[in-house]
């Protein structure tokens, strides 16, 4: 159905590949432009100098930059992410266990943000100028201007410290007797595990969404307002369609197209938020990993995280393009360009 030809897809994949190479190069350079190396953290009175030097050599830190870069590029393209000097494990094993957790949080945030945002934007745009529009719009702007971590602390304070309803850390209960909504561990079934995850994801998710929906809402509201005055909405009304049908099927459906464009920015915004939120909520995902490894100049790991996030954004970009062709039949990607 999608008007995307295989040829165009192949072309996009090639472009994406080079974009990812660019991201990798940038990550490589940025990390090395930052002062210090992970070996600095190894300095201590009982770390003999020789041992430190051995590590420097083992990771090739004394090699010329171009050689390190070459090795990095070759390794990554052969699927070798290397060894993390600070975590003492394969970089891939770190990513393997952390990426799904980030995807859960990020994916849920994205989905909720982009369901709630456009829905609210649709109503506000349709009823533009009403008191309800003005107050919700103002509330959205306030949320938009607040730092995500600030909202996070507020939520933790209220729902954890004060009310004790929701956990403030981790993705699921760690031990059978953890205070939780749920009965003992042994009796866990898959759905209980899901409820447990939902219980834990509530606060971080809410923190991200409380800011994340606004961008989509703003775009949707503006678009809706343009679309409301369009001739096809007028015709739809003249056809005797109900207000709901006109608003959703005819108006919102068209207003959604620019929201897809905004979503590309939104992806970056939500990833950005997720990094901070993971940190605050001890969510053991990629966000916490990137903060930690960049600060400690764990090049092998930090590079890999950048790489994965880059791939993620490029893939999202591609998906958005495909979504476009569904949303707007005027757009097609059939040529080689």
């Amino acid at each position: 159905m999608a008007r995307i030809s295989l040829r165009y897809l192949a072309y996009r994949l090639v472009v994406s590949y080079f974009v990812i190479l660019g991201i990798m190069t940038l990550a490589f350079l940025l990390l090395r432009l930052m002062p210090g190396t992970f070996a600095d953290a190894l300095v201590s009175p009982d770390m003999p100098r020789e041992a430190r030097e051995a590590i420097v050599e083992q990771y090739g830190l004394n090699e010329p930059l171009w050689r390190q870069y070459l090795a990095f590029m070759v390794n990554y393209q052969t699927g070798q992410f290397g060894w993390s000097p600070t975590y003492g494990t394969e970089v891939w094993s770190l990513i393997e266990r952390r990426l799904p957790r980030t995807l859960v949080l990020f994916g849920a945030s994205f989905i909720f943000g982009y369901i709630i945002g456009p829905l609210v934007g649709m109503y506000l745009g349709w009823w533009r100028g009403t008191k309800r529009d003005k107050s919700v719009f103002a509330a959205g702007l306030v949320a938009y201007s607040m730092p995500a971590f600030w909202i996070a602390w507020l939520l933790i304070w209220l729902f954890n410290y004060e009310l004790g309803w929701l956990p403030s850390s981790y993705m699921m209960s760690q031990y059978p007797d953890d205070p939780s909504l749920l009965a003992p561990f042994e009796q866990w079934t898959w759905w209980r595990a899901i409820v447990d995850v939902l219980h834990h994801i509530a606060l971080p998710l809410f923190s991200i969404i409380s800011v994340g929906w606004v961008g989509a809402m703003l775009v949707m509201r503006t678009q809706m307002n343009t679309v409301v005055d369009s001739d096809y909405v007028y015709l739809a009304k003249a056809k005797g369609l109900s207000e709901r049908t006109v608003m959703i099927k005819h108006a919102a459906r068209n207003a959604l197209i620019p929201v897809a464009t905004q979503a590309i920015v939104g992806v970056a915004f939500i990833i950005d938020g997720a990094v901070i939120i993971e940190y605050v909520f001890s969510w053991p995902g990629m966000g916490a990993l990137i903060v930690d490894t960049v600060l400690r100049r764990d090049y092998p790991t930090a590079q890999a995280v950048f790489f994965i996030l880059g791939v993620l954004i490029v893939v999202m970009r591609l998906l958005t393009d495909i979504a476009y062709t569904y949303l707007d039949p005027r757009i097609s990607f059939e040529g080689g360009e």
Partner: protein, 687 residues
């Protein structure tokens, strides 16, 4: 380097300690030699047998067994391969699992038996000593296998072949390891005398041969013990296997780690343990310790203060949160002592930091009262010597039985006050102009070299290398730009007739951390710099961006002075003194810019004062008492030579849940991090 950075590489853990009457601050025992082998004579020591009796001192009943202790950390363990990781977070876990040949008393720092029952050294005079020891029979690895001599031989051979960075210097002097051909079990041949052999060579983490024989000494760093599971009584545990009290029962390094304690652990029940005044034998008493890993230190602190999600946390409570813990019901703060020091060190190849009297004088305007009482509100204690107050055996005061930090000889370069907060500039100028430093010889009464301050002479009898000033100090009109704008500065110092700015092409540089990372340090530096300027010394602050301090001081020479902290120093002195003050740890002339070294000051290098002789002697003296005496001399000589100015030692503030648990041990070094395994062996449920 901030504390947090340096603690990333901890020193060895000593897991074999027991506490007695709970959280009473342990009084620090004096330096009692443990009668280590003298000369070539064989004097077996530590011949305790395991006793079956329940531990505990007279008058104290049994403590409740069981319970789950929740501990929080803000960083994940970086693997649990004892050969590969140096992370203190990893070792918080590993200390509960691994066992050693000897144990260290956390109060007296005496070396005591553990998996080895007794040991001795022969042929010290030959320069190549022979160490003999016996292993304990009847103890088992955590997977149930019996501990054997073969395991010990395997451990040494494996570490010598693999040569992991963490143990490289420990195995370097070992020439051979073999089954002894006399009455002893094992024979170690050393290439040179090692004063601390009983706490180093005899304190390697012991590896079970049956689990490590498949690990290649080449690729040992890639070995992931946790993937290697084993079963005991139908329960599955994760590797590694060790002689320690615990087994790893859960390892999710991003969120939580659980250690379950064995029922058959006996090494906390040895005689020395039962006789200990401050530790309770027979532990651990807990069923398990659950370590929660949080994403940030804020989350960690709040998990304790607001959420009651943990019973204690790794490290200290943040100063801002101390009142919260004090007000919190069922919580209190256990204090302890530092394992290191915070300091400013001087680049001794920069004029006039090359002159001992100048370095000493700089200390006289450093307002430590302001630093300790006002800025830190008493959470640090005064610094003087490079060894923290808890390491009494190697403190110079011990030599003459003086109170730690109280003797005038340990206050020689304290802030010289005219009136509160204002240095006695006139006396300090006079001191510099006269050109006679505090040498170690008595300078009291009429012989005062610092007007207004008596110095009784060094406690250990050492003197500085610089018996008089290297330069001539005078004061003249202000010429350096940096002083010109300074209100109230009327004179500028001249070194041999020249201003310091003329000599170096710039004012003296003092490196600093970004103010937002170190607000207190910044305020202190501001105060110090203004006082140095008032003395007519042109100094300039130089803010290092994040994480560049080390690179700057390790690869450049003309950095002037830099702030840093060290932790986890050896309680035996010499090994740490070697790492920090030996000339071998300084830049050689052609190494600058290429390598780094902990002795960034250049102390002991060509033409500069040093303590190499004393450090080397301490390193090689196999008699504990003699070794400590030499170490004390080295410590005091470093004090007089002043390559580093020791500002303070931290007083750790470890917050704990006292409503549900008792048995915390205060007064020991780093009670909540480096020595937390002592706590795990002592904590028990409240009655």
């Amino acid at each position: 380097m901030s504390d947090d950075d340096t603690t990333a590489t901890s020193s060895k853990r000593r897991p074999f300690l027991k506490a007695g009457a709970g959280a009473v601050a342990v009084s620090l025992a004096g330096c009692t030699g443990d009668g280590g082998g003298e000369g070539t004579e064989t004097e077996p020591q530590g011949t305790e047998e395991i006793t079956e009796s329940t531990p505990g001192e007279a008058g104290e009943g049994d403590v409740p067994e069981g319970g789950s202790f929740r501990f929080g950390m803000s960083n994940p363990p970086e693997g649990v391969n004892p050969m590969a990781t140096s992370s203190s977070y990893s070792w918080t876990v590993l200390s509960e699992i691994m066992g050693y040949g000897t144990a260290l008393d956390p109060v007296t720092f005496d070396v005591q038996p553990s998996a080895y029952t007794d040991w001795t050294v022969e042929n010290v005079d030959s320069g190549e000593p022979d160490v003999y020891f016996n292993i304990r029979e009847g103890i088992t690895w955590s997977d149930g296998e019996e501990f054997t001599v073969d395991d010990v031989l395997f451990t040494y051979n494996f570490i010598m072949e693999a040569n992991p960075g963490r143990y490289a210097s420990t195995v370097a002097p070992i020439e051979t390891v073999e089954e002894a051909d006399n009455d002893w079990d094992v024979h170690l041949k050393l290439a040179n005398p090692v004063g601390t052999y009983d706490s180093q060579q005899l304190q390697l983490p012991l590896l079970p041969e049956h689990r490590w024989s498949d690990v290649s000494p080449e690729d040992f760093t890639e070995y992931q013990p946790q993937e290697n599971t084993y079963e005991v009584d139908g329960q599955e545990y994760l590797g590694p296997v060790g002689l320690g009290p615990g087994r790893l029962s859960r390892y999710e390094p991003d969120t939580s780690v659980e250690i379950e304690y064995r029922d058959d652990y006996t090494l906390n029940d040895l005689e020395w343990y039962q006789e200990h005044e401050n530790l309770r034998a027979g532990g651990p008493f807990l069923d398990n310790v659950r370590i929660n890993i949080y994403g940030s230190s804020d989350a960690l602190q709040q998990a304790f203060i607001s959420e009651d999600a943990i019973d204690a946390l790794y490290g200290s409570v943040l100063p801002a949160n101390i009142p919260d813990v004090e007000e919190k019901e069922g919580a209190r703060i256990v204090t302890g002592s530092d394992t290191g020091y915070a300091h400013y060190s001087f680049e001794m190849r920069t004029t006039p930091f090359d002159d001992t009297i100048f370095r000493q004088a700089v200390g006289l305007v450093y307002d430590h009262i302001y630093w300790i009482n006002q800025l830190n509100r008493g959470t640090v204690q005064r610094g003087a010597f490079t060894m923290p107050p808890g390491y009494t055996a190697v403190r110079p005061e011990t030599e003459i039985d003086a109170e730690i930090n109280e003797h005038p000889a340990s206050k020689a370069f304290d802030f010289l006050e005219d009136q509160p907060g204002v240095p006695d500039y006139a006396s300090i100028k006079e001191f510099l102009q006269n050109g006679v430093p505090i040498t170690g010889e008595s300078a009291e009464g009429d012989n005062q070299v610092i007007p207004g301050r008596d110095y009784p002479g060094s406690m250990t009898g050492v003197t500085t290398d610089d018996m008089e000033a290297r330069h001539e100090y005078t004061w003249d009109s202000v010429e350096s730009d940096i002083l010109a704008d300074e209100p109230g500065v009327e004179e500028e110092i001249r070194v041999n007739g020249e201003t310091i700015t003329e000599i170096n092409g710039e004012p003296l540089q003092i490196l600093m951390y970004p103010p937002q990372d170190s607000p207190l340090g910044t305020q202190m530096l501001e105060d110090w710099v203004s006082k140095l300027k008032a003395l007519g010394i042109p100094v300039e602050r130089n803010v290092m961006t994040f994480n560049t301090m080390l690179t700057e001081v390790y690869t450049n020479v003309n950095f002037g002075a830099f702030p840093m902290s060290w932790t986890n120093l050896s309680p035996f002195g010499a090994p740490s003194l070697e790492g920090l003050f030996h000339s071998s740890q300084a830049h050689g002339p052609d190494e600058i810019g290429e390598t780094d070294a902990n002795n960034a000051m250049g102390y002991g290098t060509e033409g500069l004062p040093g303590a190499d002789d004393l450090i080397d002697e301490a390193l090689q003296t196999m008699d504990t008492e003699e070794r400590n005496a030499v170490a004390r001399q080295a410590v005091e000589k470093i004090y007089l030579d002043a390559p580093s100015q020791i500002n303070s030692h931290e007083i750790p503030q470890w917050p704990v849940n006292e409503a549900d648990f008792e048995g915390y041990v205060g007064g020991i070094p780093s009670p909540g991090d480096s020595y937390v395994s002592v706590q795990f062996s002592q904590i028990h449920q409240a009655e």
